[in-house]
């Protein structure tokens, strides 16, 4: 763990102006983007806090020179922001953390779709923000558990996963970011919204991705 930045917040001004006993710390915003990075891609760190902020990283890494504040993770790294109330005797503390995932090829991640009824089937839509992902991260494979037929659409491609072919390479080279859509037909014994004949509430895909050269 390393203490990278420590600085005074705006609390002091309020203290002197209002004559109050202290300011409760608050982290209004803490962003480390992107959170999925490839080798060599820095993540920019920004925050808005009341109180005195202190940023630490585990493992300890140094920020890159210059502004804005950027770090280059060489492995999975947890960024922790603490805001402490002044005075420091009996301090109040607010704390939050963000884990930056450094991608060594290949990485596997589950993504979860909440399913809704759509005619004779179920549909799940999941947007994945472009700001979260290093633009160099590219899909290798997409797979389901093979328990039912699922059609996956992402970017301009689509593939149908079945019991006999639960995985696909159809999305190879496509970015993770963007909107994903899965659909699956209802089985004869399933009725949408009926707990006694319940179709699945969620569908989980396992994605494998790498950093493009």
């Amino acid at each position: 763990m390393m203490n990278a930045r420590k600085m005074a917040g705006g609390c002091y001004v309020a203290l002197f102006l209002l004559g109050v006993a202290g300011c409760a710390p608050k982290i209004a915003r803490f962003a480390v983007l992107p959170v999925r990075v490839c080798e060599g891609t820095p993540s920019a760190v920004t925050w808005e806090v009341s109180g005195s902020p202190e940023l630490t990283t585990a493992p300890a890494i140094q920020p890159l020179p210059g502004e804005p504040l950027r770090y280059q993770a060489t492995e999975d790294t947890v960024f922790t922001l603490r805001a402490t109330r002044w005075p420091y005797q009996n301090p109040d503390v607010a704390e939050t953390e963000v884990r930056v995932h450094r991608t060594p090829p290949p990485v596997t991640e589950r993504i979860v779709f909440t399913m809704n009824c759509d005619g004779a089937g179920l549909v799940g839509i999941l947007p994945r923000p472009a700001t979260d992902w290093d633009s160099r991260i590219r899909l290798e494979t997409v797979a389901a558990d093979g328990s039912r037929e699922i059609t996956v659409e992402h970017e301009t491609r689509s593939a149908t996963l079945t019991a006999s072919a639960p995985g696909t390479g159809a999305f190879q080279g496509v970015a993770m970011a963007g909107t994903w859509k899965v659909t699956t037909p209802l089985r004869p014994n399933e009725r949408c919204g009926d707990p006694s004949a319940a179709p699945p509430a969620k569908i989980i895909l396992t994605t494998q991705f790498v950093c493009a050269r």
Binding site: V93, E97, R99, M115, K202, I204
Partner: protein, 452 residues
């Protein structure tokens, strides 16, 4: 009714702590790699896919944790409990997988860390040593639900009345009929042993009573009363209240109600002291039933869906109907009238206590509201009692052997919660209305700072 309660039970003790779910506190009892109690519906396998929470498309698995102060409170008001229950449009079921998503919205962040507080569960009995002792020596009720998918005030009102005039916790004093009045009308001896302000300080209609030392007494007097008080005045119904973290005063007690961000170690000590006080008089203990539960789940994960028992607002009150009970909470019956290390699997909620009181002290149902829940399948606490011959009290291991979590600094919320404001308002108005008499019972009221 399992046994002749009117002959076998003379004292009912009710202890209600704050804001923890069954799985969070007692789920470890079922761990395949741990205690492996297959008779209890806890967390047998934390990796069970159906327990997996999801938020913004990312998957979150349950994780075992030690007792510690939490970073802050968790969401547990009606709207965000609804997110936690995660009723699926597709399956039509409550999937119980929205606890992380609810927390993310509560924290107003794009994502939360992998080990999000709502999905942590106590790793073993060492984290909750008194509850663990109770589970090993008395009865665990693994279908005890908070009556409503809502927060503190609605659920405590259900416990104290069988109905609630509020569906969310409000920042003001409250007014509705309470179980204390029901007991008084029936000439039943009752008493509240308090640590700091009792919950019913929020009710101005109770202010004369809470300043009456025969009815509301410091919990410091409990052990002595159990030992020496005359049978003519010793209460038939006893409420033991913790030092609430929402109260502006605590009469010198450490806050021990288990409300996050508190660790649960202080609450474990509180329960232990109560148990030792009652078992200190074996003759009285032989006829005592102690009920230990939590007002609501506090935003912590539980895997059992709520019961489909609806609750309508009372006449003259307007809030949307609740379609289900709340989330499952710990429920334990600690009494010489139960089998050691047993489990009760049928449905209970806080109104099970009111059913029990009516069976003990009346010949009719407690109220139409409580009867409606009974007709919907909610059982009475009396159903848990099975032994016609009381057994001797089990001795609790020494405190040092229990490894109760040390008291650790607890972060304070930046803004006061509605319940904190309600408590503070009640405390100020109590002081203003009752003056010196209020200070006799609650000297700390004098330390309340003037309203800004």
């Amino acid at each position: 009714m399992a046994i002749d309660i009117k002959n076998l039970v003379e004292t009912i003790v009710i202890v209600m702590l704050e804001n923890r779910s069954f799985d969070h506190m007692l789920g470890y009892l079922s761990l395949k790699d741990g205690t492996n109690r297959t008779d209890i519906d806890g967390i047998a396998d934390p990796e069970n896919p159906s327990y997996m929470n999801d938020s913004a498309g990312e998957a979150y698995s349950l994780f075992a944790t030690k007792d510690a102060a939490l970073p802050g409170d968790l969401p547990h008001e009606r709207q965000l409990v609804d997110v936690q229950l995660a009723k699926s449009a597709a399956s039509g079921k409550y999937e119980m997988t929205g606890f992380v998503e609810s927390y993310r919205r509560f924290m107003n962040v794009p994502r939360v860390k992998t080990k999000a507080p709502p999905i942590g569960f106590m790793k073993d009995g060492g984290q909750v040593p008194t509850l663990d002792f109770f589970a090993n020596n008395f009865t665990v009720c693994d279908r005890w639900f908070a009556p409503l998918p809502a927060s503190t005030q609605p659920n405590r009102l259900m416990a104290l009345s069988g109905f609630t005039t509020v569906d969310v916790t409000v920042a003001q004093t409250l007014d509705q009929d309470l179980v204390y009045e029901w007991l008084t009308e029936r000439r039943i001896r009752w008493r509240v042993y308090r640590s700091g302000l009792p919950f019913c300080a929020l009710f101005p209609r109770m202010w004369d009573e809470i300043l009456d030392n025969t009815l509301f007494r410091s919990i410091r007097q409990l052990a002595k009363d159990v030992q020496t008080e005359s049978d003519h005045t010793y209460p038939e119904v006893i409420f033991c209240e913790p030092a609430y973290s929402d109260s502006p005063i605590s009469s010198g007690f450490e806050r021990n109600d288990d409300h996050p961000p508190l660790p649960v170690g202080p609450g474990q000590r509180f329960l232990r002291e109560i148990y030792e006080a009652f078992t200190g008089n074996p003759a009285r203990w032989a006829k005592t039933v102690m009920i230990v539960t939590y007002d609501e789940h506090g935003g912590f994960f539980d895997h059992v869906p709520p019961l489909p028992i609806p609750t309508d607002p009372p006449t003259g009150v307007n809030y949307p109907r609740f379609e289900t009970t709340g989330v499952r909470v710990p429920g334990l019956i600690v009494s010489p009238l139960v089998v050691p290390a047993s489990v009760y699997n049928d449905k209970l909620d806080h109104t099970s206590i009111l059913q029990f009181l009516a069976e003990m002290f009346d010949d009719v149902d407690y109220s139409p509201d409580v009867k409606r829940r009974k007709d919907a399948g909610i059982r009475s606490v009396s159903d848990v009692l099975t032994l016609s011959q009381p057994r001797a009290a089990a001795a609790m291991p020494p405190l040092e052997a229990l490894g109760v979590a040390a008291v650790v600094p607890v972060p304070k919320p930046e803004d006061k919660t509605p319940n904190q404001i309600a408590f503070e308002t009640a405390a100020r108005e109590l002081l203003a209305g009752k003056g010196a008499k209020a200070l006799d019972s609650y000297p700390e009221l004098a330390t309340l700072k003037p309203k800004p």
